[in-house]
């Protein structure tokens, strides 16, 4: 049993609160990703789980035992660092076996475990090399190998891929996922890259300013963000936020963006939003993929409008178009063949069935 539990965990540096009360339950064998912008407290949280930072308040339990006062080596965890932290004077074998040696594991067992881990990671032929002689990807594997060898209760990853180039990153991402599927160890993974978070995680924890914004499966976070922060953080290009008003007119609710542009709220949402009519400081959230070129027949809740396009970014399988409403730049994703051109007006379609209405003052999704 290697579940990890955080209860009201707080970290204070002098006057600054880096983590301001985090509650989190991580199930056995689960792959959890902590994601958020830099300075949000995700690394600090991870380091508190590792025991590298003292906990200013609250409790952390691993496998049911509170480990607040347990030194890192007795927490039975393994950690992979952003810069790998391979011991430069040891070869790969020595790097991987160092922890076991300190625990006085019998030699043949060490050898067996290192060999096995090396096999899993496909680095058997690198065992005699020094870290200096390895490529970035290989170092990454060795760092993971060093973690695997120890067969810990929990794996901790601290932005392990951010030092790699884009292509390697994608490759190693899959690698990590594969390894996890093989060894099935509870994993806490910290990254600032939401794509990594989405692709790897069983559940994603989005953190902001020392607090958890939302915990959920990647799909939940994408489709049902709880806050404006999560909505904006997950997804690329990011969700459009357009200041708007909610109007109650002739028994129908309408979203009004400006004098010229207003659209009816989908029927399925009217009940939910009814009480917010006339509320100031509302924001309409709509992902770029829900703004497309107009098509022959419209589904319900899809609305067409004309817009002068300012910038066009062809991406190959799609084209991003940018225009301005209410002084807010808005991005849409259109078919490359839709004939978009900068400086020309274009007929676009918004799919309001996927809309989010956000109270800008509280940051909550309504």
């Amino acid at each position: 049993m290697a579940q990890v539990t955080l209860r009201k965990v707080v970290k204070k540096y002098d006057e600054v609160m880096a983590v301001r009360g985090v509650d989190l339950d991580i199930a056995d064998k689960e792959f959890i990703v902590l994601v958020g912008p830099s300075g949000c407290g995700k690394s600090t949280t991870l380091r508190m789980i590792a025991g590298l930072e003292e906990i200013s308040g609250g409790d952390i339990a691993i496998g049911g035992d509170v480990v607040n006062d347990v030194p890192p080596k007795d927490r039975d965890i393994a950690m992979v660092f952003q810069n790998y932290a391979l011991y430069p004077h040891m070869n790969v074998y020595e790097n991987m076996s160092f922890g076991l040696k300190l625990k006085r594991t019998p030699r043949n067992e060490i050898e067996q475990r290192v060999k096995q881990a090396a096999q899993i990671l496909d680095i058997t032929e690198l065992l005699d090399r020094k870290p200096k002689q390895l490529s970035g990807g290989q170092r990454q594997r060795v760092a993971m190998g060093r973690a695997i060898v120890r067969d810990p209760k929990v794996f901790l990853f601290d932005e392990p891929l951010s030092n790699l180039d884009a292509k390697l990153r994608v490759q190693m991402r899959t690698e990590i996922k594969k390894v996890h599927q093989k060894v099935r160890t509870t994993t806490v993974y910290v990254t600032h890259d939401q794509v990594e978070a989405m692709t790897l995680a069983d559940r994603v924890v989005v953190m902001n300013a020392g607090l958890i914004e939302q915990v959920g499966s990647p799909n939940d976070l994408y489709h049902l963000p709880a806050t404006k922060f999560v909505a904006g953080f997950i997804g690329s290009p990011a969700m459009n936020f357009i200041p708007c008003q909610l109007e109650q007119a002739a028994g129908a609710l309408r979203i009004r963006l400006n004098d010229k542009l207003s659209m009816p709220v989908p029927a399925s949402r009217t009940k939910r939003y009814a009480s917010f009519a006339g509320k100031p400081d509302l924001v309409l959230g709509l992902r770029p993929e829900h703004i497309s070129e107009t098509r022959p027949h419209a589904e319900p809740d899809q609305h067409d409008f004309d817009m002068p396009i300012e910038v066009v970014e062809p991406m190959g399988m799609e084209t991003l178009v940018y225009f301005t409403v209410n002084n807010t730049e808005i991005c849409g994703r259109v078919n490359p063949d839709a004939g978009s051109a900068a400086g020309q007006a274009m007929k676009l379609r918004a799919d309001l069935s996927k809309m989010h209405l956000i109270d800008n003052s509280t940051g909550k999704v309504l």
Binding site: P72, K73, Q82, A85, H89, K103
Partner: protein
């Protein structure tokens, strides 16, 4: 340049541009020229030592061309190396320097590790303050040290005056602060994740130091070692003050006090002794120079 030529339409090169390699070559020539000047400046005294050491005392007194040896002789070397006492100075110097280097490194490496990585109350102050101990000059310290030695003798019966090994106790005051400072700089340049990884791997602080930091910091340690060795080999005032008997003297003091007698200078032998005294550190440098630079590069420059 080619572009410039085309743009102006002129077939000839503009004169003020020279080829890159041409510039580079001239820069190199000037570099060598000035280097030679500096080397001449730096090596004149040692060279003159060598010249003088090869002269007999009558040739020196004859006041002929001082820069040339007319009748080269090794008699100074033979006389010096044939004397038991010179070898004793040499042995004392070597023992003192080696022990001082070892003590210095043990003290400064552990302290630097604690100051750079572990922090405790006052550690930041100590890290800065350690450098300021040089503000206390040795000309101020040796008389109080006499008194302290007397106190030690009266309480424990251990006599510290006139023993070469006393220098092993005193010299670290001159070497440890700078070495600690180099090592703090070097340790600071080692990524923090490395000791965290070791911590997670189950290493104690001592193991982290001995198994990870010391091997990684070898260049820094060598730089500090060289410094400590040079300083303790060259020390003059303390051995002059604390040792008297011929069998307790170290090289610099031994040479100055036994070869110069009253108003009678034995220049040939003095220069020979000085040259031989300078040899060990020179040889050590020849081997460890590259490490020294590397050690300072990573460590000291982090200031």
């Amino acid at each position: 340049m080619a572009n410039a030529a085309i743009a102006t339409g002129a077939p000839s090169r503009p004169v003020k541009y020279r080829s890159m390699s041409h510039n580079r070559r001239w820069a190199m020539r000037w570099s060598y020229f000035f280097l030679i000047l500096f080397v001449v400046f730096f090596l004149t005294p040692p060279l003159y030592m060598l010249i003088t050491s090869l002269k007999s005392s009558s040739e020196i007194s004859a006041a002929t061309n001082p820069w040339w040896v007319y009748k080269p002789t090794l008699s100074n070397y033979e006389e010096l190396l044939g004397q038991n006492q010179y070898l004793i100075f040499f042995r004392n110097s070597a023992l003192v320097s080696v022990c001082v280097v070892i003590i210095t490194m043990v003290i400064s490496v552990t302290a630097a590790f604690a100051l750079a990585r572990m922090k405790f109350w006052g550690s930041a102050t100590l890290a800065t303050g350690v450098f300021l101990t040089y503000l206390v000059p040795d000309t101020l310290l040796f008389i109080p040290l006499f008194k302290m030695f007397a106190f030690v003798r009266d309480t424990t019966g251990i006599e510290l005056m006139n023993h070469w090994w006393t220098l092993i106790i005193i010299y670290p005051t001159l070497t440890v602060p700078f070495c600690t400072w180099i090592m703090i700089g070097y340790f600071a340049s080692i990524p923090k994740e490395l000791d965290e990884a070791a911590l997670i791997d189950g290493a104690s602080w001592m193991q982290t130091l001995t198994k990870i930091f010391i091997p990684v910091a070898i260049p820094g340690i060598i730089a500090a070692t060289i410094f400590a060795f040079t300083v303790s080999w060259a020390q003059f005032l303390y051995p002059l003050a604390f040792t008297t008997s011929t069998d307790q003297l170290v090289l610099p003091v031994g040479i100055v006090t036994t070869l110069i007698k009253g108003d009678v200078f034995n220049w040939g032998q003095i220069m020979t002794g000085a040259l031989l005294g300078a040899a060990p550190p020179l040889i050590i440098y020849a081997f460890l120079m590259d490490y020294y630079i590397a050690g300072l590069t990573a460590g000291a420059t982090k200031g």
